[in-house]
Symmetry: C2
Subunit: 268 residues, 2 copies
Amino acid sequence: MLTVTSVNVNGIRAAAKKGFSPWLAGSDADVVCLQEVRAEEEQIPLEVRKPEGWHTVFAPAAAKGRAGVALYTRREPERVQVGFGSAEFDASGRYLEADLPGVTVASLYLPSGEAGTEKQDEKYRFMEAFLPYLVGLKERAAADGREVVVCGDWNICHREADLKNWRTNRKSAGFLPEEREWLGRVYAEAGYVDVVRALHPDTEGPYSWWSYRGRAFDNDAGWRIDLQVATPGLADRAVKAWVERAETHPERWSDHAPVTVVYGLGAV
Amino acid sequence: MLTVTSVNVNGIRAAAKKGFSPWLAGSDADVVCLQEVRAEEEQIPLEVRKPEGWHTVFAPAAAKGRAGVALYTRREPERVQVGFGSAEFDASGRYLEADLPGVTVASLYLPSGEAGTEKQDEKYRFMEAFLPYLVGLKERAAADGREVVVCGDWNICHREADLKNWRTNRKSAGFLPEEREWLGRVYAEAGYVDVVRALHPDTEGPYSWWSYRGRAFDNDAGWRIDLQVATPGLADRAVKAWVERAETHPERWSDHAPVTVVYGLGAV
DNA sequence: CCTTCCAAG
DNA sequence: CTTGTAAGG
């Protein structure tokens, strides 16, 4: 069994003050992918930076207090890679990849964008550079007999079932037609699988992010933007997937909730 | 009797969340002078901006979130004046004056300075402009049969007894020779009286400010920089003066403590 | 160390 | 609404 959890921590230092460590201690995951760490390694409290029993690797952004991804693994990775070969994005704390026996796991934090602004252009540039990388990653992995899962905050909802207020958000970043189409190409062209949706084809959500504004969380006005996007060989072995909403995760140490998938693989 | 309290609130919005209103409700003062309000009037919660039974007047700084002084009076002032006729400082939220029957009360927030920097030059420019104003204020008040008290955060200690660590602070802003000498001129040349010191000539302190850093408050490593500086006719009528340190003011909703003087005057 | 600001989300 | 940063104190 390989259990993988992905969560956008919205500032690991803030999360550390609100219960990240007890949550991690209670986690059964073999791999935890973090996004929006928003800190350099030295700024992170030691018990969070190097918790007992975990190997941790961080890819902070060059800009202080921004983005930043990390991977926590129970076994030491065979190989670690920061970025995906993009001059613009490799120092932006948005992509970190590690090889474990038979599987490559990545932590991705795709830019959130803002419709009609330069931020949205940046998001599109990231998407444009990242899709070919995903294609090549899958090809190299196949040649190597490996599987791949790219976990993280993709900041895009593919379908209406992926966000509660899809009608009012058709012109919002995260649910723009161009973004939805691009995510469709990750599945149809690059051949990856949205694992949680594959296991829960007929549910609304499960959402993984609720804005701190208004009563979004209480009203479950959420978005399913935190995904595990895997090669079909791995996705086919997914046996269970869930999002830790309030019931199981009442501390709410982030505006995102952890997304966990159990894959029927030998332990890595 | 006229009871006057002066306190640097270090952000009235923060103070409001930590107990300013109950403190004010329990105050016997007729006049409360505030410094470092750090807000525009509209940003202040209504119960703090216009508390039942008080007239309030604010002099915010042009720069958002900086400085700002206020006067709370039980009777409506006969006249209010923002600034002291200085092009450089009148919009800096550092001086506010009000006439009550027979007495002029001012709230002053003198720049804190920083030794060897432009901030210190600004402090000296303020001091240079303010001393002649104090002289004129006293003369006009005398011609008018009025008394004067200038309350506030003067950001200067006059004597060694005014700060616990005077030895280590001889090169620190607030206890520089030039600053001490200037405050001496407020007393000796302009003819004002440091009311709390006059009533407590032989005590260390009483301090009114303790840095939030380290254990300054617990160690009582304080500075007596919050003063009531009055004309002799008023100072002579001071019957009681105290600083509300932890015992009487345990909430600590500011890094400064309120300084109160009771003057033996008819109620204003 | 604390309180504002601002940019970002 | 919350996280960081930075300046100011």
